[in-house]
Amino acid sequence: MDTTIAIRPVRLKPRLPALLEGWGPALVFLAPALVMLCLFKLWLIAEAVYTSTGTFDPGGQRIGNAGLDNFGFALSDSRFQWGLWLSLFAAVAKVPVQLALGLAAALMLRANTGGNAVVRAMVISPMFFGLPVTTFIFAYMFDANVGAVNAILSGIGLPRVAWLSTEAPAQMLVLGLSIWRDVGVTMLVFLAGLSAIPPQIANAAKLDGAGPFALFFTITLPLLARSFQFAVVLATLASFQILVPVLMLTKGGPTGATDLASFQIYETAFSYFDLGTASAMSLALLFGLIVIIALELRWLAVKWTYE
């Protein structure tokens, strides 16, 4: 055997096997998650893109290509424009209120006393009931006839409110339910953030002359920046998931007051069977959500680290 042949020339370009380096054994463990990821996330997006460019008969069969017509149709539709505004409004209304309340609750309950632990558990408790049951509870509380809220209102001499058939109250009800349910999560995020602040830093600030207000605005709040970013993204994401009470209670009404984009998407697909337009609407709304979250992540980026 000629031993000199053993010296091979060095390849400059990585070959395909090099790109897949190390995947062999990993693939066995990744397989279940990867299959589901590909089927129900990646294919899902591909399917959305594909259906959004087609026209369908009422039976759901693709009968032609529409190009970008579905997008043009959806985005020029004044009802869908209104729906997008409403979705944006839901985020703009929900995020600040939920953050303020969650932060206030976290500051109030941060000390580790037994009483605080109980109140904390109560603030979190709505999460355990699930969105459907939470919606039942709100439907009952705000029921025009037997609801406790109207009973209290009339008891103290105020007029009863037809919560689900008046515009602003219906919007408040849907948003209020969402905030009531999610404020516990925000509180937990801020509690974790507060406990990550080294007590020494607050002590140093006190000795440096900071009163309670200066301590909060110059130390505590800036040091909560990461929790802030996380809580804002979570709340924004949740503000795009308030379809359940709309579908169950208001059905987009009264007079379009809760006619959210996601509700229109549902209706377009499952009541009007206009699959192409529904997919185009889905993608448009998803794009809007991702843009908002990207902007938030950028605006709230944190430049400092401990250590």
Partner: protein, 382 residues
Amino acid sequence: MHKLVLRSVTKSYAAGSAVLKPFDLVAQAGELVVLVGPSGCGKSTLLKLIAGLEKLDDGQILLGERDITNVEPRHRRIAMVFQNYALYPHLSVRENLAYPLRRQKLRAADIVLKVSAVARQLRLDELLDRRPSQLSGGQKQRVAMGRAIIREPDLFLLDEPLSNLDAALRTHVRGEIRDLQRRLGTTMIYVTHDQVEAQTLADRLVIMRNGEVQQVGPPQEIYERPANIFAAAFLGTAPPNFLAGRIVDDRVEIGQASLPLADLPGECRTALAGREQIYVGLRPEMLRPTCDLDRDHFVLRGKVIRREIVGNSQNVHFRSEAGSADAAKLSALAGRHLSDELVWTTERAGTDDAVELGIRPESILFFDTDGVAIGAHGSDAL
């Protein structure tokens, strides 16, 4: 310059477990007082009480002419350097330094002037725009010092400020802190568990154990005349060799060796008279070969177990017939593990299997069976 007075300050967390037993301390104006003791002795708690970060159960704290017992921390005019520096991570070095001044609502122009003055003094000029996470340990330490001195406080508190630095840097920064304190003339309370740091820095040392003061005084004085076995074992590179002794007639008997009381200094002789059981402490570095001593009444013979070479000196571990006392009891009194081996620290090289050592009678430390020093010792007024 301001004097700090603590009057019978007490503190406990859970009922019954006193962290600080009634505690008195006076730091004279401009003095550097070091609180030293093993971890859990209450020294850090004491610092927090002085700073006002924790409430005291009882007692009084005076700073200069002011009673600050119930004053908010921010109005005490006290600056503190924390063990992990506690720099504000979201602020630049410049803003860290300016922070105390901003809280005092100083004019912007004055703040700029003061920050640059302090930065020059502490060689931070180049670092002013960095954030704490971009600094080395030594640089962080300097920023923490700068933040403390910038507002010209009445009192400095330093809580183990060097423990996060490596050994070489520690010695250097220690010197810088000492110089800075001398130059500013501000009273300083310095907490450490490191006895070398404590001795090199302190005008006066306060040795603490379990929330109680063991001894107060200048380092040299405590080294020469420790108030008890704990203080004796705490200062010095190695603890003294403790041996059990007996007073028989007018001699001190330590195992086979013995020593006439007449050879001891006057106050020691009278204090020892009439006692029976005692402990003696022989500092390893005070032992001498018998041939070097003019009088050799007291001879300690032993077999060498091992020799450890440390630079140009040698620790000779040996076992003697004089024997050591009950190691368990002595360990409890000293607050650290004491073996039954004896140690002789010497600069001579040697390879012998046996040693024959003596000590000048005035260098012997005497303790009663409760570990309290016998004879007058240098514990001055607290």
